[in-house]
């Protein structure tokens, strides 16, 4: 395993990129991090992800893997012995994949609506966003992590959005902790681990990024921008 070469093409505020950083950190995998300028994408990015031209892209021994959920599963399969993320039981794996898919379908888009819209549209987005977080709280139950006693697949998939919560709250003028205290407790528990806290940017830094986008670009144009790249 000594001559494995792992490269991650990423963009620091991307929650999708954070998933991959976290998975690699949990497994203790050394990798080269390459920051992409999304207004001037590198030849490497365009070559490694010709279909979508988006980050994150994981490059393992020269071969690209795209899509953050797929990248996390791949990392788990290639390095299965340290901190396994997916359970071994097929039914438990299906449950974990279902909830990762739920996060994928809901959280990014709703969160984006919270910080890019106003008025009725924003209120509707906030309401649905909180409802989804509550469903996730239900799935978490009394466990420390979605993965049980340790970080698992769903934890890695969801926790990056925690770095965006402060920005959502300021833009939406609401408190996520008040509505979903169990989920915030879970996120803080995750952040006590270096593998998570060192993979996620500071919440204030994310908020600064959002403010910068709103000031420089104007709210109406943000929706058209690819500055926050969905992984695929």
């Amino acid at each position: 395993m000594g001559d494995e070469k792992v490269v991650l093409l990423d963009f620091w505020p991307s929650p999708f990129g954070m998933r991959v950083r976290t998975a690699l950190a949990v497994k203790g995998i050394k990798y080269e991090y390459k920051e992409e300028d999304l207004s001037n994408k590198s030849d490497l990015l365009l070559k490694m992800n010709p279909i979508h031209k988006k980050i994150p892209v994981l490059i393992h021994n020269g071969k690209p893997i795209c899509e953050s959920l797929i990248q996390v599963q791949y990392i788990d399969e290639i390095w299965p012995h340290k901190s396994p993320l997916l359970p071994t039981d097929p039914y438990q794996r299906a449950i974990a994949k279902f909830w990762a898919d739920f996060v994928e379908k809901k959280i990014y888009d709703l969160g984006k609506k919270v910080w890019t819209t106003k008025g009725e549209e924003q209120e509707a987005a906030k309401k649905e966003f909180i409802a989804c977080l509550k469903l996730l709280e239900g799935e978490l139950g009394n466990k420390d992590y979605f993965g049980g006693e340790n970080l698992g697949y769903v934890d890695v998939v969801l926790v990056p959005f925690y770095s965006w919560f402060y920005a959502y709250e300021k833009c939406g003028n609401f408190s996520i902790e008040r509505e979903c205290p169990k989920l915030i407790a879970w996120a803080k528990r995750c952040m006590e681990k270096d593998s998570v806290s060192k993979s996620l940017p500071d919440q204030q830094k994310i908020y600064g990024f959002v403010l910068h986008l709103r000031k420089v670009v104007g709210l109406s144009k943000i929706l058209c921008l690819q500055h926050i790249s969905r992984h695929c």
């Binding site: 899509e67 791949y74 399969e77 039914y91 794996r93 299906a94 994949k97 898919d101």
Partner: protein
């Protein structure tokens, strides 16, 4: 009591993926047809989050989302595998399944719109077909899965069969075989596989359903 139950809807390409997977692997199952306008309490109990079909119930335990279901089926019954064993190949396969899944909305976008919105949908369809032609079937592969079909072939089934019915409903030809020769050949190969050929929704019945839905939509627009 059947060990495997499948809740589906007769026109749903997502339900058909599960039917094909179970039949390819020789797994007996009980099929329960759902009326999506009047969902059964059992469906709502098994899929409270999305309230959708398909839902697979194995020994009383529900699994939802067709891609999750297919991966589960492949793990429980490994014969006639639907995914490659090699992790890198599997990641590449999952990429294409997601690509196809992310384009599923194009079906309803095509037959539930008109004017500029429909033209935009046509453009998106053509872009997707171009990607399939240029990137997904390279090397002259018979199927996305190589010599045998796999989950990617099943994921793109909406292009192979459902698109044709929608084209008839809206009166547009989007898929021109000479423009997409590799995809065209794949469609013929895919539809000639016995498990697929023998398990497809009736085209006339689907035409009637979608035509009615489109007429209702157009009528409500002019109100």
């Amino acid at each position: 009591m059947a060990v495997v139950k499948l809740f589906g809807a007769w026109f749903s390409p997502y339900a058909y993926r599960v039917i094909w997977a179970l039949k390819l692997k020789g797994i007996p199952y009980e099929y329960i047809e759902e009326d999506l306008r009047n969902k059964s309490p059992l469906l709502l109990q098994y899929n409270p989050i999305h309230k959708k079909v398909p839902v697979l119930v194995h020994d009383g335990k529900p699994i939802c989302e067709s891609t999750v279901i297919l991966q589960y089926i492949d793990e429980i019954w490994p014969q006639n595998p639907l995914l490659p064993a090699d992790p890198y190949d599997r990641a590449a396969t999952l990429f294409w399944i997601k690509f196809a899944d992310d384009k599923g909305y194009l079906m309803s976008k095509l037959y539930q719109t008109d004017g500029e919105e429909q033209q935009a949908a046509v453009k998106e369809w053509l872009e997707m077909l171009e990607v399939m032609e240029e990137h997904a079937l390279i090397g002259g592969k018979k199927f996305f899965g190589g010599e045998e079909i796999n989950m990617v072939d099943m994921a793109f089934s909406f292009v192979a069969y459902w698109l044709g019915v929608i084209e008839d409903v809206v009166g547009l030809e989007i898929f021109e075989p000479h423009k997409f020769p590799l995809v065209s050949l794949w469609i013929q190969n895919f539809k000639s596989i016995p498990v697929i050929k023998e398990n497809l929704p009736d085209a006339d019945k689907m035409f009637a359903l979608l035509k009615h839905g489109r007429e209702m939509m157009l009528a409500s627009k002019s109100d």
